[in-house]
């Protein structure tokens, strides 16, 4: 790539990396490598952000993310995590309906009460 193209891609870089060709070429190469890698990472990061948001939204209603998704899978509800997170933020009543659907299908792992003394053997 010729120098003009490099400098065009090096806009906003720190120090000599935006002015001097030797340094700019290195930084631009690195920047392009990062952008290649991060186009793939972005998909992962976004999904993890949606899952965190859905988790927070369902915990407001007393259900955690794992049990919620298990219930949805059982009911064959095909909504993806992107849409579910947007629902949790912008449409709280619809989201509560979804949580109830999931809860009726899969009430979650109820903690087994510990039996004390003789009743544990019986």
């Amino acid at each position: 790539m010729n120098k003009d193209k490099i400098f065009k891609l090096a806009k906003g870089f720190r120090g000599r990396a935006k002015n001097c060709i030797r340094i700019a070429r290195e930084r631009v190469e690195k920047a392009l490598q990062y952008s290649y890698r991060d186009r793939r990472n972005k998909k992962r990061d976004m999904r993890s952000l949606w899952i965190e948001r859905i988790n927070a939204g369902t915990r407001l209603h007393g259900v955690n993310y794992g049990n919620f998704m298990h219930g949805l899978m059982k009911e064959n509800i095909q909504l993806n995590r992107k849409v579910l997170s947007e629902l949790a933020m912008h449409e709280p009543y619809s989201f509560k309906a979804l949580v109830n659907v999931s809860r009726t299908t899969f009430p979650g792992n109820k903690a087994v009460p510990k039996k004390e003394g003789l009743s544990s053997i019986l």
Partner: protein, 241 residues
């Protein structure tokens, strides 16, 4: 019933008057009007997302101009229909995290296990309990801790847990036990615990300033009307054996 949510309602792009998207939602709201009181407690009604929905309806009536079909090619999709909220992940605007409108919580630290309490505090300060959580933005709340000198630890930690700091010079390591530090500066124990649980970085340092720890049971934040921090951990109370 609730199972028959039409999925088409969620995939449809928002129309100018947003009736297409909201029509299914109005049905849901009617079904849940009876239980709205229970919903009103768990949802924070100050959430900006609710404001987002109502503003769009108003904007479509007054702010958004009606563009005739012949001229629609001249404009971008966001100018015709409004911002696309279903295909782009929401990112908070400045108005969504104004510090003056954040909730304030208060915790009484007497006889609470240090780490368990610090964990819930850090979650609330970071904003991980909200559906609008964003890792790069400070969406969390403020937390006040009172009676910090009465915080409890289990086992032998009271005499064995060490707090270390280094002045930077050779031989400058200072070591203190939990007991000694509690006598000297009791607030530092809770601050140290919560700081270790917050992210480290520029944002983490700003989040840390949202924690207010006090020694006695008095605090100067009555004007912020703090509400008690909801703690769901069942093993947080210190039980003397």
């Amino acid at each position: 019933m609730a199972t028959t949510i039409p999925t088409s309602a969620f995939i449809a792009t928002p129309h100018r008057c947003s009736t297409g998207r909201s029509s299914a939602i109005w049905v849901q709201k009617a079904q849940f009007s009876a239980s709205s009181s229970s919903l009103g407690v768990s949802l924070s009604l100050k959430r900006p997302s609710l404001r987002l929905v109502s503003v769009r309806c108003e904007a479509n009536g007054a702010g958004m101009p009606v563009i005739p079909a012949q001229e629609r090619w001249m404009y971008e999709e966001s100018e015709i229909n409004g911002p696309d909220i279903w295909n782009k992940t929401w990112y908070p605007k400045a108005a969504d995290h104004v510090n003056t409108e954040k909730t304030w919580y208060i915790v009484d630290a007497s006889d609470k296990i240090l780490g368990r309490m610090a964990s819930t505090i850090a979650n609330y300060i970071r904003g991980k309990n909200l559906a609008t959580y964003t890792p790069s933005v400070d969406m969390g709340a403020y937390v006040i801790v009172i009676n910090a000198e009465k915080v409890a630890v289990s086992g032998q930690k009271r005499s064995q847990k060490l707090y270390r700091r280094h002045s930077g010079r050779p031989g400058g390591m200072k070591i203190e036990t939990f007991d000694q530090l509690q006598k000297r500066i009791p607030e530092r124990i809770v601050e140290h615990a919560v700081r270790g649980m917050l992210p480290k970085g520029r944002l983490g340092r700003t989040l840390f300033t949202h924690l207010k720890v006090y020694k006695g049971s008095e605090h100067p934040h009555q004007a912020q009307k703090p509400i008690p921090l909801p703690i769901r951990d069942k093993r947080i109370q210190f039980v003397k054996k």
